[in-house]
Symmetry: C2
Subunit: 197 residues, 2 copies
């Protein structure tokens, strides 16, 4: 298998087919559109950049390089994916520092907190402490709905853990619905404006 991963698409975990491969194999309908969520968020960031709305970048996946072969340029021959110790996205919008994580779930009822790493919760709490704006974008694949949830709400739920997952009802009640369209695919800054007015 030899795949050049497009920006924002990284190989899956062991035992799972690659996201890229899954995407190529999948038929395009509402139920599996969520698989492209990260790619769609990347495209939305590109739209915002090209239209001078905001500058938001995705942090590259950290990779631990073990071995490099210099015989033909610098070819990495042994390396491992590492866990991101922060969130995937940050940037600047109207002078404000934004920092967020984009997640999707295929669950039919609730968003499992196991999708969020403890260091991401810490990172977002830290962002807030320094005057930044922290949030999650959560895509509910089955409903084909996307919400912006303030980090305050998610981190509080995460710390208290009244349940192991946030029910969809609570997400729609406490979150801000992100409008979908063609360009940008997800206008999450419109939801941001409502959430942090």
């Amino acid at each position: 298998m030899k795949i050049n991963y497009p920006a924002g698409i990284t190989p899956g975990r062991p035992g799972e087919p690659d996201k890229a491969a899954k995407h190529l194999l999948s038929t395009k309908n509402a139920a599996n559109r969520g698989m492209d969520f990260e790619a769609d968020i990347n495209a939305s960031c590109l739209y915002y950049k090209e239209n001078d709305v905001a500058l938001i970048t995705k942090r590259p996946t950290p990779i631990n390089v073990v071995k490099v072969d210099y015989s033909h340029g610098a070819k990495i021959t042994h390396a491992y994916f590492e866990k991101q110790s922060t969130t995937d996205y940050n940037g600047v919008y109207r002078g404000r520092y934004l920092d967020f994580e984009a997640k999707e779930t295929r669950s039919r009822t609730s968003f499992p907190l196991s999708n969020i790493a403890p260091q991401q919760v810490e990172h977002l709490e830290n962002v807030k402490k320094h005057g930044g704006f922290a949030f999650f974008l959560i895509h509910l694949t089955v409903l084909d709905e996307t919400y912006l949830l303030k980090a305050d709400y998610v981190c509080d739920f995460y710390r208290r853990k009244p349940r192991k997952s946030i029910p969809f009802g609570e997400i729609s009640e406490n979150g801000f619905r992100v409008k979908e369209g063609y360009s940008p695919r997800y206008d999450f800054l419109e939801a941001f404006d409502r959430a942090f007015k």
Copy 2:
């Protein structure tokens, strides 16, 4: 050769010894202290984080993954380093969005503009447009001096290109000297406060 690269130290370009290897080989004196510049900036960011001063993170080096072997976990067996399309560092400090590039030069007279990629100039101009604070940290190895230069100044010099490099005299005249110490190693936020007051 089998090296586990510590955070912030990435292998050099083809034909060059690795930064990590160079560091191990080098004797520690003022003239080659600049080799650790990136590592020292990383340590300074960690100091700022742990002391609740600011939250600044280094973007991981982007790597283009060609082949992954899933037979024992996810082992990357074929990949290449990619050029960062942005700067290396960004973060939040007192509600402000910061974005900067840290560079060092071993030149004896001036900082070569060839150290800066066109997309980094574009990126920093874009940061400014959205209300962020953009700058360079430039370490002059031979003098063992470090300066914060506003992106405005550097990008203007880069666009006009009156010379192919910025003479040290102009750097010290237009820049803000970064104080060195033990912890943080480079107190660049102190220089930031003077530069962007």
